[in-house]
Symmetry: C2
Subunit: 160 residues, 2 copies
DNA sequence: TGACATAAGTCGTTATAACGAGTATGTTTA
DNA sequence: TAAACATACTCGTTATAACGACTTATGTCA
């Protein structure tokens, strides 16, 4: 609907009263934007049988190569924080996408590594994901993207 | 950590490889910012026994006054889309925060209305929420907030 | 060294989310 | 007007998220 696009978030969520502050409007815009994009990502990944969280974990492990990552290292690197990495890895292991091994040096630590099946899945997804990114945000152009990234960085300052 | 604040999202999620595109960086920044803020909201609301989704629904119903809203109207107005408004309202009803009534005109429709207990809870939350908004995003200032809101609006264009 | 604290994961449990089928009501059409 | 379709919601089921208690392994320090 074109109306939605031009009239701002207030029209999108059919709000009657104006926002009480710019801060509130920004916060709600942020939540809605993220939710909509997350939903699209979810749909993109669905045919491949992985959730956005799982995809995120797999990409972290691809970046780590043979070295792998411990559960807490994975947790640190997640985009959306997950309080139970154990079960996240459980599910990926059950699908044969990652492997687990207990560390000899520090036997508390369990290191997860991506398997060749996991790598293959990611490889299959690289193109669609890249296309998705362009399709969703490419129309902003370089300048606006950079500005958005900067503004979001400032927006996170107080939220840590 | 100050480092995190200045070094951008790449340092925050301890990423080794650079982002493959600005679009990807923007998307991940957006997800992370929203997640962090959502987490803080979650914590803010926890002592009051409501989730962000429930809070959102209550505010929608406060805006609707005595007229109330049907389940599908609520769904349309949610910031984070919820596929099962029935159960969302169930939970709020069980806590006495909303009431349900079947419409006489169209007996398919169930209208939810906020109760005085619900209004009181929201009233209690108004101040803390407003303070939260200012605390989280106030440091951006008017100009940056407006720019952010505009950019997010553009970012949502293709995600609908 | 032994007591204590901390760290890293695991797992039981409860709550919530997601999916889809089912029910009742209302609208449209042949 | 009966059949077909559409709408609004409900609910059973399965999967995932959230909360904490628990286990095991390392560090710290008197």
């Amino acid at each position: 609907m074109f109306k939605d696009v031009t009239a701002g978030i207030q029209a999108e969520i059919k709000q009657v009263k104006p926002f009480s502050s710019l801060e509130e409007e920004a916060l709600l815009s942020l939540q809605r934007t993220a939710d909509q994009l997350q939903w699209r990502i979810f749909e993109l990944l669905k045919p491949y049988g992985v959730s956005p969280t799982q995809y995120n974990a797999l990409r972290i492990l691809r970046g780590a190569k043979e070295q792998g990552r411990s559960c807490s290292e994975i947790a640190d690197r997640m985009i959306n924080r997950d309080p139970d990495v154990t079960r996240l890895i459980d599910r990926l292991e059950r699908r044969g996408l990652v492997q687990r091994a207990r560390e000899k040096k520090d036997r508390r630590v369990v290191t997860a590594r991506i398997t060749s099946a996991g790598l293959e899945l990611l490889k299959e997804l690289d193109r669609p994901v890249e296309e998705f990114n362009r399709k969703m945000l490419g129309h902003l152009g370089e300048q606006k993207l950079k500005r958005l990234i900067k503004l979001l960085e400032v927006a996170r300052e107080r939220a840590v």
